[in-house]
Amino acid sequence: MRSSRAEKIKCRVLAAAALLFLTSHAAAQTASTPAAPPQVALCTACHGPNGNSQIPLTPSLAGQPKVFIENQLVLIREGLRDIPQMKGMLDTLKDPELVALANHFSAQTPAKPTGSINQEVFERGKALSAKMLCGSCHLPDYSGRQQMPRLAGQNEAFLAYSMKQFRDHAGLGRDTVMSASLFGLKDNDLADLAHFLANYK
């Protein structure tokens, strides 16, 4: 827990440094560079190298579908999805900049999961996922598509947290389809699913 908090503080500091760097170098940016958008350093300070997060409750962005990232960035910027850690971060960004970020992170390679697997929990999650038809929308390899996120290899704690959010807090900007899909599942069901998906290779 302590190390995760230290990580969080570190990531905020890094983000602030990246923001400073951006502001001072804004004039030097050229429109023609096809390289990573200038804000990427700000994102990866928390979301990890290439968007592979090392902070439990911060999601990985690498390899997420482009439309999914675009839509989430808009929802967060417009305040329809309330994420305290993201507050204000996107205020100045216009749609084309969000699209550029989505392009960038969707093209990154997701890191292979390296956590230790509890086989019993993993199997329970696998069976539940098959029963719940998660792979129907998120695809059988859980790589996601369009508006539906990649689940394979996502941080376990984030997956569990996120599913609870869907289950308990249906609302604006939150997908009612997903809320309905998780209706009635218990916390330990969600934990099983999260363990399976986070370790899915």
Partner: protein, 401 residues
């Protein structure tokens, strides 16, 4: 007796589903009726897009229309645009999904600019009536009085007067004031296919403008997202979406005509041209059901319907209907994604459907470039067509060649 058995079966089913709720939660509304044969199907609702699409990425060059017709970009940069309403002074108001915004689009004759009137609403639709903008979301009704003169006017909240039911699915709105000055509002079925949880769904209602004197004018209507009044008979004609998960080609969406109030249009027991539902069964499922004027293609997602009364288009289009089909998701190969023209006799006989705007869909690759949803006629007789996917509005005009 049969009814009693059916009721008993339904009650047992409800009891059972409650008893096993912990281990087998109900499927989400759009998945209801999905049979075991479809369990491996990868079909899922198509993604909406929340970012503004740059003009250079709009599919305008792909669109194909009959000879003499032209489509051009009228406005853009308003993600999720759906139904439009025009004020006396020419402002165009547009509802949207996703971001839940209502946009006001101003036209100086050369170019269009937009601003957000209100946002964070639950899928709002718009109508303009006697100087006021009416905004209706799934769970809210707002009236902006004199908004043309006073852009920042605070809305009057009429929600309590309209007595809106709680379920959200299929209760996204399309609203219009009729020739009788009443506000017409659909209340969709809160599922793909189900016995209605309460009787306040799957119906079309009308209200006085202030929300009083509510009257249910039609039932058994699964999900209508477009209606208009016949220019001669003043009868209301409406589109209705058919159910999903019965296969690629059945049941079809509908174009219906309401010759009088109080008719039953079939949901959940009877679909399209008289197809009894295999999941929600009733003896003589289609008895007493008003069948459609014509079917409109399975899963095509029939949206806005407009009777053309302008003088710009050739005479053959006078009083013909234009209907936007947003396009399918519950189909192996996509279909719809176009605007069709439908001509029919005033009594609903002899309906003929022909393509009008195509090119939103590439049938070879199964890719789509836009989702046409609503039509609005301008004073010069041109049609505006909104594209929910790209957040653009196109102007369709005609010039003799």
């Amino acid at each position: 007796m049969k009814n009693r058995i059916a009721l008993c079966g339904a009650l047992i089913a409800v009891g059972l589903s409650q008893a096993i709720a912990q281990t087998a939660p109900p499927p989400p509304a759009w998945q209801q009726g999905r049979g075991t044969d479809q369990a491996a199907s990868p079909l899922a609702p198509v993604a909406g897009k929340l970012t503004a699409t740059p003009v250079s990425e709009l599919p305008i060059d792909k669109l194909k229309l009959p000879a003499g017709f032209k489509a051009e970009v009228w406005s853009h940069g308003t993600p999720g645009v759906r139904a439009m309403a025009r004020s006396e002074s020419g402002k165009v108001y547009v509802g949207s999904r996703g971001l839940g915004r209502v946009y006001e689009i101003s036209d100086n004759g050369k170019e269009r600019t937009s601003r957000i009137v209100v946002d964070k609403l639950n899928q709002p639709a718009v109508a303009f009536h006697k100087g006021s903008l009416y905004v209706m979301a799934i769970d809210k009704v707002l009236r902006f009085d004199g908004i043309e003169q006073n852009p920042n006017v605070a809305p009057v909240d009429l929600t309590a007067k309209f007595n809106l039911p709680p379920e959200q699915h299929h209760n996204w709105k399309y609203i219009r004031f009729g020739p009788d000055g009443k506000l017409y509002v659909p209340f969709g079925a809160p599922c793909n296919i189900c016995e209605l949880p309460t009787q306040e769904y799957a119906q079309l209602r009308r209200y006085d403008a202030d929300g009083s004197n509510m009257e249910v004018i039609g039932r058994g209507i699964r999900n209508t997202q477009g209606f208009d009044w016949h220019p001669v008979t003043q009868e209301i004609w409406f589109t209705d979406h058919g159910r999903d998960w019965l296969g690629d080609d059945t049941p079809a969406d509908e174009l219906n005509r309401m010759s009088k109030t109080g008719l039953n249009f079939g949901f959940p027991y009877c679909h399209a041209n008289g197809i009894a539902d295999p999941d929600v069964k009733k003896d003589k499922a289609c008895e007493g059901v008003t069948l459609p004027v014509t079917t409109m293609g399975a899963h095509a997602a029939v949206m806005g319907l407009h009777f053309y009364t302008g003088n710009m288009f050739p005479a053959e289009y006078k009083n013909a209907m234009f209907i936007a089909r947003k396009g399918s998701w519950n189909r192996t190969k996509k279909s719809g994604y176009d605007v069709v023209m439908v001509k029919a006799n005033a009594d609903g006989t002899n309906a003929q459907m022909t393509p009008f705007v195509t090119g939103f869909l590439d049938e070879k690759t199964d890719d789509f470039f836009g989702r046409p949803v609503y039509l609005m006629q301008m004073p010069d007789g041109a049609l505006l067509l909104s594209d929910e996917q790209t957040g653009a509005i196109y102007r369709i005009s005609y010039a003799k060649q």
